[in-house]
Structure formats: C-alpha cells, structure tokens
Symmetry: C2
C-alpha cells in the first residue's frame, strides 16, 4: 500500500481526492499497488464528506509520517506551498503540484532538492490543466531539439477573445459574461493582464530549453486594449487575435519569451482553438510542429493530471523521472522582440488626407493595407526583420498620428 | 555503454540511424549512458555511408549478441519482422517498432512475450508518426477512462481531401498530384482504401480500451467514392469531409471501430487538420476532449519517435513500461454502426419532381436539407438514433432513386 497526502481541498484538491477515492480500484489496478489517501490538509472544516476523517490542519503530521511517500500540493500561491513542498522533498517524499505560480517562481530550486533526495517533483497540471504537455515534451520528443514554443495558455482570455471574434461582443461585455459563467474570477487581473499565461510560458520555456525563466523576464501584455476594430482588421488579413505565449531560442544562446495578443492566421491550427480550450504548439528539429489541445482548466481535467503524476510517482517510487532544468540567469532572456516577428500596425490620424500622403511617402503602396477613411486609420502588416526599421519610419511621421502595434504569428 | 541494433535501413530506418549517430552526444547525455549503434540489418549494400561498417545481413548476429539490449524494428510488413521481433524479445532484448501492420496484427502476443521476458516492446511511431500519442494516452491520461477515439490517421488521404476541399480538384487529379509530390505511393491502395488508417485504429482502440482489435474487425471504407459534389454538400452543412478513424466503447462492453469518410463540423478542431498533418482526439471521463496534432509521417518525424522509444528503453533497461493490452475475441467489436451517429444522406433521381413528392411524404420538411434541381438531388443530415429508421424509410421510396450515405461527427 502507498499512502498519499493531499495539501489543499479547493477546486483542484477536491477533484484529486474524489478521483483517488471514487476511482480507487481503477487507479490501484493500474499502478499495481493499493493507493490510500491518508491525509487531506486544509484549514477549513469539511465535516459532511464521506472522507471527512482524513482532514488535518497541521502540516507536520504529513511531514513526520514516513509512510506518506507522495504528496499532492494543490493549495496554490507561493506561500506556504513553497515551504511545505521543500520540506516534503527534503524528507524523501515525492511531490506533485498543479501550482504554476510556485513552479514558475521556484521550479529550478525544487527540482534540485528533489534530485538531491532521489524523489520526484512533477507538475504536469501546472500547464494546460488536463492536456498532456510536459511529459510528451520531455519523453516523446526526447530525440528532438525544441526551438520554439507557442501556446494559448489561458482559457479566460481565450473565451473573451472568442466572444469578441464570433459574437462581435466588446471586451467589457465579454468579460462580464465570462465572470457570470464562472470562466473569469471576480478579480480577473491575473488572467486578462496575461500573468497566468506568463507563468506557463516560464515553465514551458524552462522545460523546453533547459534553463529557468522567471516571470519578470517575460514581456507580458494582456488583452485589455484589444478592441472590436482590431478584431475586424485582423479578420481582413485572414487572422484572429489570440493571447499567445511564445518562447524561442535565439542564435546567440539566449531566448525570447513573451505573452501578447497576436494575430494568428486562420490557416494555423491554433486559430481553431476556441472557448476555454488551450493548446501548446512546439517546434522540434525532427518532428516539426506538434500541437497538444484540450481543456486548460476545470476541476476534473486539472485533477486528472495531478492524479496521473501521483500514479507516475508511485510507479517510480525508487526511480527518478527526467523532468528538470537548470537555474537561469539575468541575461538569459533577451528583452528585445524576436526580430523575425511581423507586426500588425494601425496608424490613426484626424487628418486622414495628411496621413495618407505621409503613408505613401514613407511606406510606399507596395505593402498590403486596409484604409478606413471614416475612422482615419490605415492598417498593415510589416515584413519580418522590420521592427527596427519600423521605429525609424514611424519617427518620420508628423505629430498627431497615433500608432498601435500587435505581434503576429505570420 | 548500451548497444543498439537497427533492423531495416529504408526511409524510417535511415532516419533512426542518422539521429542516433549524428545527434549521439545529445541523446547519450539525455539518457545518461553512451548509446552505440552496433549493427544495422539490411540485405542491400550501403557502402558509401559514414557508418557503412555497421551493416550486417544476418539477423542471428544481432540475436546472439548479448550486449545488444535494444533493437529497433523498422523493416515494415509482418514477415519476417514478426519472427525477428519475437526472437529478440524472447532472448531478453527490448524492441521498439514503427511497424503498424505488425502491431495491429500481433500486438497482444508480442506484448505478452515482452512481459514474460521482463523487457519492453514500444511502438509510439506506429500511430501518428512523430506525434506523441500512445505514451500520453497511457501515462498522462492514466487517471481517465477513455471512452471514444477519433483520428485523422493518414496523411495521403488527408492531403487529397484537402485539395478537393480547398482547390476544388477532383479525386483523380488530387491523387495524381499527391503521387507526383511523393505524398502517395505508386500503388496507393493501402492509403486511399483506408487500410493504413485501419491498422492505426486497431492500435489506438487496443491501447485505449484494453483489448486487441484486429484489422478485419474494423469496418473500413476509403475515400475513392468521394466526389466534389459531396464536398460541396458538406460545405453547405458547415462541414468538411475527412477520413476519420473512430472507436467507441458501447454500454454492452463491446466497442465499435471504423474508418470512413466523415462530415466534420468546421467548429471541430479536427476540421483544421490539413495537408499531410494527422491528429488524434480522445475523450477521457475526466479530461474531456484532448487532441494530439503533428506530422503523421515523414522520415525525421517518424524516426524521432522511434529514437524516443529507444531512449525510453535505455532509461528503463531493468524496468517494464506499462503499455499493454489483452488479446481480443471474435465478438468484442460490434459490427453495427454506433447508433448515435448522424448520417449524411444524398438522394438522387432522374425524376426530381417525383423524388420531391416522395421526400415530403416520407421525411416531411422539418429536416434541414439542400435541394439541387439540376442534378436531381436532395441532401440532408439525419438525427441520431436514426439509422434503423432510415433504412425503413428508404425502403418506402419507389425504384429509380439512388442513395449515398456518409458518417458525420455531428
């Protein structure tokens, strides 16, 4: 028999408990061992559950029980999760977690502690909820050098953008609807400002490229400034706007990492990832592009990924899984944009005739563009390698012209 | 050091050799062991390769060399691969293969031999080429009960259908183009008649549902009867036609399994899988729908999946991977269609007025339909649970009316 402890009984934690308890036979059979949920740590009272007797409020009971070999940390947040996880690993317990904030902030350190203590630290659920991503990335693609990663990593923003694209609903209305439906939190900042996606980019980049990337190294922009006009312009270029997390290896050994609203061609499979679904696309030097798609959040989906990690720990109770990276450093992430990115540019002026004249002088007419006399706007998409030139060219425009740029995946 | 043998030096085999030899440092580092390609078995001569000294023509050299711990079978076909693989497993060597025909025909038996000899038999490359599917299905989704599987499993047919849909090219022209571009073989039967996809459905169903499914148990239909008119009708219902491999658990403990051209809604992510790309969609009771997407064939992609399996065998040289199923039986696969399937129906008559009259008498007008007076056709999509009723209703039509039906994923 293997004793397991669950730290946290919120949305994901209760899902983990329910799967482990309700589907115990299936799971025990598959790991060829009896799996027993011994403790559930939560400060709240849960008196009326069929497994209420398992609840404890003192973390030290788990820590000091040598029979507990695997601990699931599903509390969320960096503290006290960080302290608890560190202590569990150091005392020879494997830990699995769905906590992206913790992994993005402390992953390299916790992996090192796990290695030093010959236990496992797994976190499949921290990226893409129930979508298998991290394990296939490291195992199935182990013969590859991964050089670029793109992801639709946040269901809330994808739902909102989808409503804007399909139903022509403005941002505020779509956010309100997402909140009413439970797809967005009361304080939606972490989602709509891109912080949640940023943490997942950190984890994907670390695992894909081998060095820790810290959230403050990722240029992060949310979707709050996206308008229905942007959506319409994107459509006229055959694109939809998605919040894309992106990381890429550069030739100088550094990487770029960003989260930004991005124009995605309707020909790209990621353009069809709608609603609360998530997807991660990887480019391997042997496989080319590979995509993993599914529900990026939700109780059952995320909990099933946590349980799969628990099962993997049980099957490898005396073996180490190869899921690791080194610590990063300050200048590992290049703050400049990837120079290969094409940009969507929207110029606007109250003096549209003046704008037109300058536009044809500075850019010429050989760039495909959309003009809107009514709003005084010209929209176009630049070539690659254009960003530095763009800044120079834009500086030639006279005052009174506003400029908005968005990244593209074109 | 770990000695590896490669049996076969065709497209995939040469790819495996090249990755293992050219990227040896990367791979050895990742498995924490020196990986050495000791033998390559092929009856042909390869004198001018940088690794020509590794070639042998006698299988028994591999079999009798106790240092060879892992063998990659990339010859294709059931014979002599079956005999060679059996002997390798029985003598304590782990085997990896890309050979879908072998796994579909002999998987259960070979898995059993591997288990009895405490070695591994892995075959990630046999489904979806370079796309990670089998391992995430069994490991990451291990907390799930998988109940339905759909796949676009053959790049050749997907390329042809895509040409028909996007470029309005007829079947024969698209097939010719695919052959000219190397996407279809000179004898394209195995692809266009669905046999290749059928083998992959067998493997997916076996792994997903736990019992071997044999190719002759899968109702298999190719794409040769699909016309540009079908494509246009599908479009008018918001669908594209894809060759879908499908397997589903039924309530009676049996399963259904089929390969058939199928109408897929443009809202479904599988509708965006174009060209030579493949995708597998699984439904798990906890995760909901999960999709894996990428290149389903090609030298590097497929070889990289074989190499990943070799690496996994090396890392687990003394441990068994949990990738298995039991043998199936004759009545495990239900020969009837899944009753929940909606069908696309196309009725045609030279007497269009007579057809219209009978149509409104037999079906009424409350089914959405498309009428084409010029061709004398009426197209419509049935409700679910309609198949038996449909046959009954169709029998009411008078002579001179032709009927074509296609499955849908609606």
């Amino acid at each position: 028999m293997i004793d397991v402890a669950i730290m946290g009984h919120g949305v994901v934690g209760s899902g983990v408990a329910e799967i482990l308890i309700n589907h115990n036979e299936r799971i025990s059979k598959r790991v060829k061992n009896d799996v027993n949920v011994k403790y559930i740590l939560d400060l709240r009272d849960f008196d009326s559950l069929p497994y209420s007797e398992k609840f404890i409020k003192d973390f030290n009971i788990i820590l000091s029980d040598a029979d507990v070999k695997v601990v699931a940390e599903v509390m969320g947040g960096v503290n006290p999760a960080y302290d608890f996880v560190k202590k569990c690993l150091a005392s020879g317990k494997s830990v699995v977690t769905s906590n992206k904030e913790l992994v993005a902030a402390k992953g390299a350190e916790l992996i090192k502690i796990a290695e030093d203590n010959n236990v496992n630290f797994l976190f499949e659920a921290s990226v893409g909820g129930g979508i298998p991503v991290l394990r296939p990335m490291t195992q199935c693609m182990s013969a590859n050098e991964i050089d670029e990663i793109w992801g639709i990593l946040n269901g809330t923003t994808n739902y909102i953008l989808n409503k804007m694209i399909v139903d022509n609903m403005d941002f505020d209305t779509a956010l309100k609807l997402a909140q009413d439906l439970g797809f967005a939190e009361k304080d939606p900042t972490a989602d709509i400002e891109g912080h949640d996606a940023c943490r997942k980019v950190c984890i994907l980049a670390a695992l894909g490229f081998g060095k820790h990337v810290y959230p403050n190294q990722v240029k992060t922009e949310g979707i709050t400034k996206i308008t229905l006009d942007d959506v319409a312009y994107a459509d006229s270029f055959g694109c939809v706007i998605k919040l894309i997390g992106h990381a890429k290896k550069l030739k100088n050994g550094k990487i770029t990492a960003s989260v930004a609203p991005t124009l995605v061609s309707r020909d790209c499979i990621l353009s069809g990832v709608n609603g609360v679904f998530n997807a991660v696309m990887l480019n391997g030097d042997q496989t080319g592009e590979v995509v993993f798609y599914g529900k990026g959040a939700g109780k059952e989906a995320t909990a099933s990924a946590v349980v799969a990690d628990i099962m993997d720990c049980i099957k490898h109770i005396n073996a180490r899984k190869y899921l690791s990276w080194e610590d990063g450093d300050n200048d590992y992430v290049d703050i400049a944009h990837d120079p290969k990115t094409r940009l969507f540019v929207l110029l606007k002026s109250e003096d549209f005739d003046g704008l037109l004249k300058q536009w044809s002088e500075i850019f010429g007419e050989n760039i495909q563009n959309v003009k809107n006399e009514e709003t005084g706007e010209i929209a176009f998409i630049t070539d690659t390698d254009f960003e530095s030139k763009l800044r120079e060219k834009l500086s030639l425009f006279k005052n009174g012209i506003s400029v908005k740029t968005l990244k593209t995946m074109l």
